[in-house]
């Protein structure tokens, strides 16, 4: 939509010209409630922004240097104790590891599956709205609906997954009970749940691609497969970079479905770092320590974001 913008700052000179008269007062008289400066428009947002974003960011940093507790008692400053403890806490590292593992095993399929869906739907096979509905509908489900449905599919005795294995003559799998399987089961559910979002992003990108190259290549006799690899996919590079970037950041913040399905189990094998923050902060009352763990994780996210931005810039 930025493409429709008038070039440069051209139009801005318009509104600015009256000010050349120096008649600030006349303008006030003209619109008493809204000074031209526009600050008053930003104020409500600014107020909420400061209260519910800046304040917690600062407060969280402060809390990470205290022994703040959920229990009703006084708080004391403890310096870097929480950070020192966090660096030596094996559960911080294992939960960070789980988060990174989850990110790795979800981001790749979430980009590739979504791309495949979009390409297939874009190929023009009849029933567009039905395909879109099928792929995007899961994204509209609240997380608990997803976990309810999948915990039933994964149910050890009667669930679809093990019934299918039984029908194929195979033994049951502990989809959510086996330490080496649980994270994969959650990843599969996550792909099902959220691929539709990336699918729509890809579909929109495909629909706005110029078709001239494609047409020219087709006239030259290039096959569908060839044109996909040589024209369409390269044209989607920027979209792919953006989708992958957003996906990695989204996957790093995983909490909901894991907490509801396994509470981080079995044996801590699926506990993501955000759940560890919840566990030590709320279950374990130690809000200060949880803040420190949050900030360590925040640092990781900032690093990932900056690396991505840098890669992205280079792509451009």
């Amino acid at each position: 939509m930025t493409t429709t913008a008038p070039p440069g700052t051209g139009p801005r000179t318009g509104p600015d010209t009256p000010r050349a008269d120096g008649s600030r007062r006349t303008r006030r008289q003209r619109s008493p409630g809204a000074p031209r400066s526009g600050l008053v428009f930003v104020l409500p947002f600014l107020l909420l922004f400061v209260l519910f974003l800046v304040w917690p960011v600062v407060q969280g940093l402060w809390m990470s240097f205290t022994d703040s507790s959920l229990a009703l008692r006084d708080t004391a400053f403890v310096g870097f104790d929480n950070y020192a403890e966090a660096f030596g806490d094996p559960d911080v590292w294992s939960s960070l590891g789980n988060t990174l593992f989850f990110t790795a095993v979800t981001s790749v399929p979430l980009v590739l599956v979504a791309l495949a869906m979009a390409l297939l739907v874009h190929s023009g096979i009849a029933g567009q709205w039905a395909w879109r509905l099928a792929f995007f509908a899961p994204y509209l489900l609240p997380v608990t609906v997803v976990t309810l449905i999948w915990s039933w599919l994964y149910q050890p005795d009667l669930g679809f997954a093990n019934q299918l294995l039984a029908a194929l003559g195979m033994g049951p799998v502990g989809w959510l009970a086996d330490e080496s399987v649980a994270m994969w089961s959650i990843a599969a559910l996550t792909v099902w749940w959220t691929a539709g979002f990336n699918f729509l992003l890809y579909l929109a990108a495909l629909q706005s691609l110029p078709t001239t190259f494609d047409e020219a290549a087709a006239l030259d006799g290039a096959g569908a497969w060839r044109r996909l690899w040589s024209i369409t996919l390269p044209q989607l590079r920027r979209t792919t970079a953006l989708v992958a970037m957003l996906q990695i950041l989204a996957s790093l913040k995983v909490f909901d479905q894991i907490y509801i399905l396994t509470k981080g189990g079995p044996g801590g094998s699926t506990r993501p770092v955000l759940e560890y923050v919840y566990d030590v902060g709320f279950t374990g009352y130690r809000l200060g320590y949880a803040s420190a763990v949050s900030y360590l994780f925040f640092a990781l996210i900032v690093v990932v974001s900056l690396v991505q931005l840098r890669l992205f810039r280079r792509e451009d």
Partner: protein, 299 residues
Amino acid sequence: MSATTTPPRPRRRTPRERAGAPLLLGHGRLPRVLAGTALVVLAAVWLLPFVWAIATSVQSEQDVSAPGLSPFKGAFTLDAYQRILDRGDVPVWAFNSLLIAGLVTVVTVAVSTLAAYGFSRGTFRGRRALLAVTVAAVMVPPQLLIVPLFRQMLLFDLVDTYAAVILPQVVAPMMVFVLKRFFDGVPRELEEAARIDGASEFRVLWSVVLPLSRPIVAAVAIFVFIGAWNNFLWPFIVTNDPDLMTLPVGLATVRDSHGVQYVSGMASALLAALPLIVVFLFFQRRIVDSVATTGLGGS
């Protein structure tokens, strides 16, 4: 992205109607058959959990506890739905979800639109710096603020209130940014005319800019609504009273004295899924546009 500023908005044609679309598969039979097969298989896999859940929800607990791969193992019954509606908490949570997501959407859209307009047209001091801070704040994941936010709500004595659920959700720097970029592209000639006629800045926004911005405002509203409707973590943290819980939080937290029951579980899941799916069926085009325009931050 494709959200046009010029009314009347032409209906975007589906790819099937587009001249270039058949080219993608060429005119050969084989690619078309392969692509069609892949699409059907993929869609079947995607729909399977729904089919299994729906089938389970219309049987009795005894019937579904028979082994077998068939989704229908017993007689059709809507008992589970009746039981859930009688129990009464699912409708209460649905009401809370609607109220909370509705208020979050209204406030977010109002506040973000005003701010975006101020950032786009304003000349106040520190405008660039504030805008830079707002854009940088997009990087702060709200999930990392749960601990200090909860502490803050304890301080304000707001834990277990609607306000506590709603307020932190209305700060949406990304949406401000998306709207601001759109407003930057709205031509200013009309505004100038209105200003010369003595309209206040608010009047200019309301009567001139907003009518031109309906698609983007709708897109932002839809995006915010879906996000708020499905939000789990923060409402889960700040509500303990079941009467204040949203659908996802209530379903994940509160239990029945009977214990785990799969048929009831599926029925309540499907009831909770219904509202947004229905909305999607009616406003598919708008929702798809919304995701496409706001999903990547309007870039």
